[in-house]
């Protein structure tokens, strides 16, 4: 059951092979049985899920069902859910019950999908290993000594361990693609503005984008069909029509022009990972694609640029957590300043504090031009690199991450070495482009992801390119042994 695709699950529901309640119980049972080993959920909402499943069964019986009615999913705990705790992985929001649903959650419920629970994540999505969560780290299902990646480590691990058919996630600097790569699943970060940010707790508003995690490109396409689209409550939501992402998956790749940026294959890339990416690119040659070398000359500046822009926006966004209207409040505040400082000091973890302070410093009087303005100028150059590349090629390919999953604790005391694990994903957020990671092989027991970057609003092509690869390879069908049964 847990290896079925969304299409197979939808067919099974319609053929009455199983009901949505049975399907939901099946995955709730798997979570109860296995999640103790990987800690991928912060909150499991069994009663809520079973109610949604009953409603879905009713809709299926009445003929009111749409394509994914009755299919379970997990929501990253960054999306607000009315009546169910939304913690964002932080002590600050440990007691926070959102008074409304995020746009993404509303769309999933509106499509009849069943929410199993809320997945673990780095605190406020700040991290690349899921180790900054207030609720403890997530373990990689392929190797429990390894990190799952972050910040959407819970969603990635839950999908990889088959505890949910699909999950939502968010990506500010690689937080969908990097954990998808490290957990051996398919993860898509859409174009900035494609998926509503309404009710998605803000980290860096000009970079944050919601997306999907699944075991295959086909499943990712079907979930993206549900969550993509304009939302007037998000001022940066794109007013672009949404194609049927499932309709073009089988299109031919003959003549597809693939660009390989030389900067993504230079020093710092693990040689085994490089070998696997080369082999994946060869598969594309066999599928009829043309491959050419390109250059994204400002790649090396993406991480420094990001670590000004993202913290600056974070320091502003997280100023709302003040201990007054919602969230954590310290005990026995002597005055208002003490209330602010201790509520924030006790409510936020170390990585969030580091980023708030970097952002505060970069935006403070006398430093704005040297840091924030400079970073915005570099963002333009980085974005122009991609624009130039897309004049010559249709998609860009390379590794998602320079190495396979590192060990828990290996980088947690060295923030900069952690930041550099996102070296190939961050530029895509700065430019606002869509990017996807698919499984392409293993080094030992740990998965390797191939990153595919597309032009603006070209998610359909990305999913098509990923799907065709998955028709001729079986990396995406491999399941981590302890969770295979």
């Amino acid at each position: 059951m847990h290896d079925k695709t969304l299409t197979e699950l939808a067919a099974g529901l319609r053929a009455k092979e199983f009901s949505s309640v049975e399907l939901t119980r099946y995955f709730l049972d798997r979570i109860a049985r296995y999640d103790g080993q990987i800690n991928s959920f912060i909150t499991v909402c069994a009663d809520y899920a079973l109610q949604q499943a009953q409603a879905a069964d009713q809709a299926l019986a009445n003929g009111d069902a749409v394509s994914l009615t009755g299919i379970p999913l997990a929501q990253k705990d960054i999306f607000c859910t009315d009546g169910i705790r939304t913690s964002c992985g932080s002590r600050m929001l440990d007691n926070f019950i959102a008074p409304y649903d995020a746009g993404v959650v509303e769309r999933c419920s509106g499509a009849g999908m069943v929410m199993l629970g809320k997945t673990n994540m780095d605190e406020f999505a700040m991290g690349s290993s899921n180790e900054t969560s207030y609720y403890g780290p997530v373990h990689n299902p392929w190797d429990r000594e390894a990190v799952p990646g972050g910040s959407s480590g819970g969603s990635a691990a839950a999908v990889a361990a088959r505890l949910t058919p699909v999950a939502t996630a968010t990506d500010t600097g690689g937080s969908i693609r990097q954990p998808a790569s490290l957990c051996g699943i398919t993860g898509l970060k859409p174009t900035y503005g494609r998926v509503s940010r309404f009710g998605m707790i803000a980290f860096a508003s000009s970079l944050d984008q919601g997306g999907v995690m699944a075991r295959s490109a086909e499943d990712a396409a079907l979930l993206l069909n549900v969550i993509a689209g304009f939302d007037e409550r998000d001022s940066t939501s794109a007013e672009q029509t949404v194609p049927d992402y499932g309709a073009t998956l089988d299109e031919t790749l003959a003549g597809l022009k693939i660009g390989l940026p030389e900067e993504y294959f230079s020093d710092g890339l693990d040689t085994e990972v490089a070998r696997i990416i080369d082999a994946a690119v060869d598969e594309y040659r066999k599928l009829g694609a043309e491959v050419k070398a390109i250059s994204l000359p400002n790649t090396g500046l993406a991480v420094p640029t990001y670590y000004v822009i993202a913290p600056a926006e974070c320091s502003s966004n997280l100023s709302r957590f003040d201990g007054v209207r919602f969230g954590y409040r310290c005990e026995n505040a002597v005055d208002l300043e003490d209330l602010y400082k201790r509520s924030r000091g006790e409510g936020f973890g170390a990585e969030v504090k580091r980023r708030i302070m970097i952002g505060t410093y970069a935006l403070s009087a006398g430093y704005y031009d040297a840091y924030y303005l400079k970073a915005q100028q570099l963002r333009h150059l980085i974005s122009d690199d991609f624009a130039k590349a897309f004049e010559e090629v249709d998609v860009i390919m390379g590794p998602t991450s320079p190495t396979v999953a590192f060990n828990l604790g290996e980088k947690s005391s060295d923030p900069v070495s952690m930041y550099l694990s996102d070296i190939y994903t961050i530029a895509v957020n700065l430019a606002g482009l869509p990017g996807l990671s698919i499984p392409a092989g293993f080094v030992g027991s740990r998965p390797v992801g191939l990153q595919i970057i597309g032009n603006y609003f070209n998610e359909a092509r990305l999913l098509n390119v990923a799907h065709r690869f998955q028709q001729v390879t079986d990396w995406h069908l491999r399941a981590p042994q302890p969770f295979a049964d």
Partner: protein, 95 residues
């Protein structure tokens, strides 16, 4: 750029963050290393480059000036740490 403990105390105050005195030197070290990374930005001359504030060249939408939200004060205040008579309570600000 190397930050001193006094810099951290000043930044933490600006950000309204209480930092344990024992942790100040660790933050000074971590933030200095991060700023060193950030200063690689200076390798490139960006004179005359337009700053990019937003990934898409899009115009800000406008809407009619109409009341669209309903008052949900009671619902919102259910999750507040301390309220009374519809007001959020904080420590005394004015003597």
């Amino acid at each position: 750029m190397s930050l001193e403990k006094t810099d951290i105390e000043k930044i933490a105050h600006l950000a309204r963050l209480e930092i344990d005195p024992d942790d100040v030197s660790r933050y000074a070290r971590d933030l200095s290393v991060i700023l060193e990374l950030v200063e690689q930005m200076n390798q490139v001359d960006t004179g005359g480059v337009q700053p990019m504030a937003h990934p898409l060249q899009m115009a800000q939408r406008l809407r009619a000036d109409e009341v669209t939200e309903t008052n949900q004060r009671d619902k919102f205040q259910q999750i507040a740490p301390q309220v009374e008579a519809g007001l959020y309570l904080v420590p005394k600000v004015i003597e």
